[in-house]
Symmetry: C2
Subunit: 136 residues, 2 copies
DNA sequence: GTGTTGACTTAGACAAAGTCCAAGCTAGGA
DNA sequence: TCCTAGCTTGGACTTTGTCTAAGTCAACAC
């Protein structure tokens, strides 16, 4: 995570306490917090941090490619710090738990030319759904 | 579409003018309207229909399995009447156009047992992204 | 170390999407 | 034709996210 902050600094980011805290909150595997959850955890480390700053910082991290935005349920977007390892998501239909997964093969290969409607197809996001061990 | 209404009636649905209009608006291929778009089109046929009724009706159609809810961008959910033919979506990254597509093979086969984390995996949604013919 | 400055942060107003509720209406059965 | 459970309505409310004007401060120059 400190390398993340260093990477950002070399890209001209001003390293503020707020940004540091948001980056720390997002550290880890299988982390998929909503902006509000990030804010709640950030507040416990830096009580005066505002919602606007959390939204700003998350948006910047997404633009910089350091964090992925995941919107799987039409509710709040979730932020996934595992942006440097291509992966997909497996979500429990009952409790909402999200795991990062790595399917084999290239999903684009399954889409034949005449199913592409003239699009230049560049990527695919897969959401697997099922019941987690705790929910079945 | 009239068979849809008939199907719903045999399941105990009261066939009101409002529900009829919502069902009519959703008829067609590659239809992916937001609730607000459905409402706007419904109003042009039945001016007094309320937003709440459109939301209620769409929600019921989803529960009954007649319509799919698609949330691909974290903005408004879209409603897809093509629920009886399994399919995935191809979305233009610039203009947002959505097409129904039919990839070959079973996406679940790409997820090995030890990548399932003990989940009972039951399905997968794939969102392909790219630029449509008009946008490149 | 000190000063400067533009980038950053803040609180709160605002907006979009969706849910909920009490009151009134009506489709379809008796 | 009447009755009533189920449907619809408008509006208040909630959640999620964006915007703005004013104040603050990280990083650079000296």
């Amino acid at each position: 995570m400190s390398d993340l902050l260093e990477r950002l600094r070399t890209r001209g980011w001003r390293l503020t306490a707020q940004r540091r805290v948001v980056a720390e909150v997002l550290d880890g595997d299988h982390v998929h917090l909503t902006a509000d959850e990030v804010h709640a955890r950030a507040v416990s480390r830096l009580p005066e941090i505002s919602r606007a700053t959390v939204y700003n910082t998350l948006g910047e991290l997404v633009i910089l490619g350091e964090v992925l935005e995941v919107s799987t349920d039409g509710r709040a977007k979730r932020y996934d710090p595992n942006a440097h390892h291509s992966h997909q998501h497996l979500i429990c239909s009952r409790c909402g738990t999200i795991r990062d997964v790595h399917p084999v093969g290239d999903p684009l290969a399954a889409l034949s030319a005449d199913e592409r409607f003239g699009f230049a197809v560049s990527g695919a996001e897969i959401t697997y759904r099922g019941l987690c061990p705790d929910c079945h």
